[in-house]
Symmetry: C2
DNA sequence: TTGTAAGCGTTATCAC
DNA sequence: GTGATAACGCTTACAA
């Protein structure tokens, strides 16, 4: 493969001149541009970004570290990130941690070695060390989706506590008194915050939330298992609050298996809507987060840091959620 | 940030010795390993992969170029790719082309500049030039999901023609005679092959497919619009064959809007199933492709090429699909 | 088992 | 406007 020297020789100029033409930087005459461009074409020259990065200390590469690209919420974040990054001439490396701190640590280490210019990260745990580590190496990070106590950084997320409060209030308004929360991993802020929102609503209604809180993982299987457990409790709950879309789907199959019909016999609400493009018939009452917008905003924040705004104060962007009331909550319960 | 020289100085060895310890290559004594590792820790040294890549001509990076990560079919391919790549110590850059040749060309160019070790590509068009270009630069490529006439390369895909034939036969067996195909972009092989499978089944049943074939894009909106058009034709069709999941969803809303109930008044089948983790209640009769497996196999093929099997004959892997018969096709039509 | 020297392909710096 | 030179941080090839 030809390099910049080969092009220079063919065009009868110095390598640095070729570099100037390629990058459209510094001064050169129109005639030189012609000669260089011709030589590039004739040789089929492709600039080597690796060499350029070594010299310039910039890779034009961002990393997106999330838990599972398979979840449409994260998929849409990814798409938002990529669209913005791509427009700015950046490429994106993505990594799935499956909520594992070990994987997260491994990926971050690799990404630092790769000299990515910045990272967008959905942290596996609510503990600041991994982020601090990245910041300590002078790389900007934007934390997506989750809260980390005691950490200064750019953040883009939604209000989990508030959304959960809204969903719980909706159920309470429909007359439900025994509501089980099927939540995600205990140490993930969204899972904890969604429980907290539920608890606030329950407390305001002077109801106990005694045995009704389950922590699991943000997966269908876990939703199924938590629902099974919850249904075995006496008195049996009349509604579920699923802390994400996958959990809701799992809970629905548990309900079906138990012969309970939604919404006739049971109500279900979920945090995270299913994208309309994937829903045969919208059914679940849900709080929707603007995932694509979250990815976009996060990428914009990161790029701003890379484009000189390195020393501005950190921004915490909390985007609004939207409540969609659908069939899974049905009508008001008859008071017993 | 410290570099390999700093570590070498601190450990009292030569840079190359540090390199050997880091990469666990060549010979060095246990004592040297200790000294080097201590120095690395004390300095917080992180190896610079960019410099390493420049020298070794390997970036340990793959690229996944697909049309839209937002489609769960591709999301699962991506996940399969990433899992395999990650196990082998490779990172993955992903790019969305939205079926645009221009975007595809732009991305491939950037990826070549970035010196990725190999590419996995869902080509935007059934035309070999972009792939040949990558091959010409000595980079291995695996073509995913689509056929390209007259191209020698590794390929992982499913049998679109056969799956479409199966779905059409199912509809014919239920008594449908007026079946409209709502397909994807005319010049994408999967869209064309799915139409071909439909045509074969129709021809075998001695039925005409005159005005019943629509080409659009693989999106919900296009599905909606094609369905609208198809429903305006006399005699009105009694069934749709949607060439992908998004089109099916769009078609369902058009049917709902037209006051037609599925499956009572109308049947719908789709190529591409919706992942169970995203389906509140499975409803669509569909051909499912093993997307995750496709991504996995494709990544394995690519890695094999990178690990010395560069000159083996190209492999074309055609994975089996699975038919799920659900409610959207209902019962046998009463013969008129 | 360890080290020296050169070079990977660019660009920053300074000179002309 | 254009070019010579060094340097980015590492590893290959060779030497000791």
């Amino acid at each position: 493969m030809p390099n910049i020297h080969d092009v220079a020789r063919r065009a009868g100029v110095a390598p640095i001149t070729v570099s100037r033409v390629i990058n459209n930087s510094g001064y050169f005459s129109e005639e030189i541009r012609q000669r260089v461009e011709t030589a590039i074409k004739e040789l089929g020259y492709v600039p080597n970004t690796v060499a350029r990065s070594l010299r310039s200390k910039k890779t034009q590469t961002l990393a997106l570290v999330l838990t599972d690209i398979t979840n449409p919420f994260f998929t849409n974040i990814a798409r938002g990130v990529e669209d913005i990054a791509s427009d700015a001439g950046f490429m994106v490396i993505y990594c799935n941690t499956d909520e594992s701190e070990v994987e997260e640590e491994k990926y971050v280490q690799m990404l630092l070695q790769k000299q990515v210019d910045g990272m967008l990260l959905v942290p596996a745990r609510s503990e600041p060390s991994i982020i601090s580590k990245i910041q300590a190496r002078g790389k900007p990070v934007v934390v997506i989706d989750r809260r980390i106590e005691g950490l200064e950084s750019d953040v883009v997320r939604c209000d989990s506590e508030g959304g959960a409060y809204q969903l719980t209030q909706l159920l309470l308004g429909l007359g439900h008194r025994h509501i089980s929360v099927l939540s995600g991993p205990r140490y993930v802020s969204t899972a904890a915050d969604r429980v907290a929102g539920y608890q606030r609503a329950m407390a305001e209604a002077s109801l106990s939330d005694g045995e009704c809180i389950y922590f699991g993982s943000y997966h269908q299987k876990s939703g199924y298992e938590m629902a099974k457990q919850a249904l075995a409790v006496t008195p049996r709950p009349t509604a579920f609050f699923a802390a994400n879309n996958f959990i809701a789907i799992g809970a629905l199959s548990a309900l079906q298996e138990a012969g309970l019909h939604v919404p006739e016999d049971f109500s279900v609400v979920a945090f995270d809507d299913l994208p309309p493009s994937l829903t045969t018939f919208p059914f679940l009452t849900a709080i929707a987060q603007p995932a694509y917008e979250m990815g976009k905003r996060a990428a914009e924040l990161l790029l701003a840091r890379l484009q000189g705004k390195a020393n501005q104060p950190y921004q915490v962007v909390v985007l609004p959620t939207e409540l969609f009331i659908r069939q899974s909550t049905g009508r008001r319960l008859d008071r017993k």
